[in-house]
């Protein structure tokens, strides 16, 4: 078990190291150049000044050396300065991260609360009418473009009915708990619809797989009610693979959050990454991307560990 964990950790560190270099190199290929942007904002700069600035920031070094300089600074806790926010990168990322955690957290709890009963209900009577309907809903949810669902929600609830604001974080000059909550409703709804469609499919498939096992027949034979079989025996055993699949799918959850945040102009991590890429905010884009990669990999390891801890039959080696 611990040998397995150590190997997984080393592998993930390797992936992080490779990814950090690749992403660093890619960010260097973004349109524009920090010095060009300085020149554009200060026409008095001469070409000599520009060259001096380039040397000052180390931009005239080869990519390997530049990466090494960035990495040593980053390992010392210095991730650089965000150009668009004029603040250290970590200071910018903190509040964005909190907002994304709030959005994803609420939506995750809601999705699980809806998808688990729905999936178990479908699995209880496979190929019945309601199983068919639930399946169709899940298929539809996974096939609809997420930003389109968001636009429809905005149209219905913000433009047409006028119940909730169309986007943003809070009313300017107002703020407070209730105000922010109103702004959260539509993004949460949008993300939850997406997640429920995906989760329901996992729950149904895994519960159906468990329902075919011998111990289910035993439970029925000894007189456990059908409801008891479903919740006490089938679901409890199906939860292990369900949790694992969802954790493994963290990248998809994050992609969904990015789209939702962008359409609803909700200033979370996803929108921050998107905006920083478009605005040539190199330092912020780099750290945001690496953080997203890091969390996804951590979720993967977490899934493996959870799998082993929850199910004593599985021996990791």
């Amino acid at each position: 078990m611990s040998a397995f964990l150590i190997r997984r950790l080393i592998q993930s560190l390797a992936v992080i190291a490779i990814m950090s270099f690749l992403v660093y190199a890619l960010i260097g290929l973004m349109p524009g150049d920090p010095i060009d942007i300085m020149i554009a904002s200060d026409p008095k700069l001469t070409p000599d000044d520009a060259a001096r600035l380039r040397a000052l920031y180390g931009l005239d070094l080869p990519i390997g050396e530049r990466y090494w300089n960035w990495l040593s600074a980053a390992l010392g806790g210095d991730f650089g300065f965000s150009r668009t926010h004029s603040r250290p990168v970590l200071d910018v990322m903190g509040p964005h991260l909190q907002r994304t955690l709030l959005l994803m957290g609420i939506s995750f709890v809601l999705s699980a609360a809806i998808a688990i009963p729905l999936g178990v209900w479908a699995a209880a009577r496979p190929y019945s009418l309601h199983d068919y309907a639930i399946n169709l809903f899940s298929f539809a949810g996974r096939s609809a473009p997420p930003f389109w669902l968001a636009l429809i929600l905005i149209f219905v609830f913000a433009v047409w009915l006028g119940w909730f604001p169309a986007g943003g974080l809070e009313t300017i000059g107002k703020g407070g708990f209730w105000d922010r909550l109103q702004y959260l409703v539509l993004p949460v709804l949008s993300l939850t619809l997406l997640n429920v469609a995906g989760f329901t499919r996992f729950v149904r498939a895994e519960t159906m797989a468990v329902m075919r096992q011998d111990f289910i027949r035993t439970a029925r034979a000894k007189g456990v009610s059908e409801r008891g079989v479903l919740t006490g025996h089938a679901l409890r055993n199906a939860m292990i693979p369900i949790v694992t699949i969802i954790a493994l799918d963290f990248g998809t959850l994050f992609s969904g959050a990015l789209i939702t945040e962008t359409v609803f102009a909700y200033p979370g991590m996803g929108k921050m990454i998107y905006d920083s890429i478009l605005a040539n905010d190199f330092n912020l884009a780099l750290v945001g991307l690496l953080f997203a990669t890091f969390v996804t990999l951590a979720a993967n390891i977490g899934a493996d560990v959870a799998y082993a801890v929850l199910d004593p039959r599985i021996a990791l080696q």
């Binding site: 997420p146 389109w148 636009l151 990248g251």
Partner: protein, 308 residues
């Protein structure tokens, strides 16, 4: 069942049985018809354009955001362009990107999967670790970066790097870069089991080169999982293309794609909500049809189900 082992008559019967099983999957059959219609419609987009007398590039500011009429069956957009014609041309792009990237990623996946499964050992270990690594990545943010890369910095002349066609090829390449993992895993699994079969061992014993064994004996017998996985991946690719185009990083206007038509529609949400319905509906129908089709193919081609 191997292609080499089944006599010709048996092979035809097998094919009929696959067809019968597929036809039983009603949603998949409907989807196949819907997709055929969509493909035909986008192939004949120029004909519809001529029929309506509405040139796709025609900006007509005196006729913006019009409702449906005889001249414009679905109305016009925020620049007075015919919505139907743009939808059909958008379909060309989305279907082309989806199919081309799916085939491209299937090729990458098939090569990686077959090499990993056939040679095994360290190479297999390495390739599967790479596959796991790619699956674990947050794909959308990385696609956004790849879509934003300035190609002139890679040495491409600006005339090529900034042309509209490049945004099309770029989308195909970058979505394929992340889409091959499913096919690779399936093909590796199929290769592992095929490798142990008598006809493959016989071929190896007779001195066939690894390249020949993989190409002649393994690949043709692993074709069903490849076809299923490829079909199932088209929908996801079309969704990624539409998201990137919607975010302004995919297909660049004025070339219409369903994704970038929604970018324009978002600004007209309160004045012309119908503008947003059509492109989204087209993406939705196309993606769900490919998903149903893949499902039906899976049921029809699944060798475990061939016995009944």
């Amino acid at each position: 069942m191997t292609a080499a082992a089944i006599p010709v008559a048996g092979r035809r019967e097998l094919r009929l049985r696959v067809l019968r099983r597929f036809l039983r999957h009603r949603l998949a059959v409907v989807s196949a018809v819907v997709l055929a219609v969509l493909i035909l419609a986008s192939v004949f987009a120029p004909a519809v354009e001529r029929l309506l007398g509405a040139d796709i590039r025609d900006v007509d500011l005196s006729a913006i955001l019009q409702g449906p009429s005889l001249a414009h069956p679905l109305g016009t957009d925020e620049l007075g362009r015919d919505l139907l014609v743009r939808l059909l041309y958008g379909g060309r792009i989305s279907l082309l990107v989806g199919l081309a990237a799916a085939v491209f990623s299937a090729m990458i996946g098939a090569v990686i999967g077959i090499v990993a499964g056939y040679f095994g050992g360290r190479l297999d270990d390495l390739l599967m670790r790479v596959t796991d690594g790619v699956i674990a990545l947050p794909i959308l943010p990385l696609l956004i970066v790849l879509a934003a890369v300035d190609l002139t910095k890679l040495g491409l002349p600006p005339s090529i790097a900034n042309s509209g066609d490049v945004s099309l090829y770029r989308i195909i390449v970058i979505t394929a870069l992340f889409g091959w993992t499913g096919v690779a895993r399936l093909v590796r699994g199929a290769t592992l089991s095929l490798k142990e079969r008598e006809f493959v061992r016989a071929a190896i014993a007779m001195g066939a080169s690894p390249w020949r064994v993989m190409r002649v004996h393994i690949l043709p017998n692993a074709i069903s999982p490849i076809v299923v996985a490829t079909t199932l991946s088209v929908g996801g690719i079309i969704l990624f293309e539409s998201v990137l185009s919607f975010l302004g990083l995919g297909i660049q206007p004025p070339i219409p794609s369903w994704g970038n038509m929604l970018t324009g529609a978002q600004e007209q949400l309160s004045s012309a909500p119908l503008l947003m319905i059509w492109p989204g509906l087209m993406i939705f129908i196309t993606v769900i049809a490919f998903n149903f089709l893949g499902d039906g193919l899976q049921d029809a081609l699944d060798p475990r189900a061939l016995s009944d």
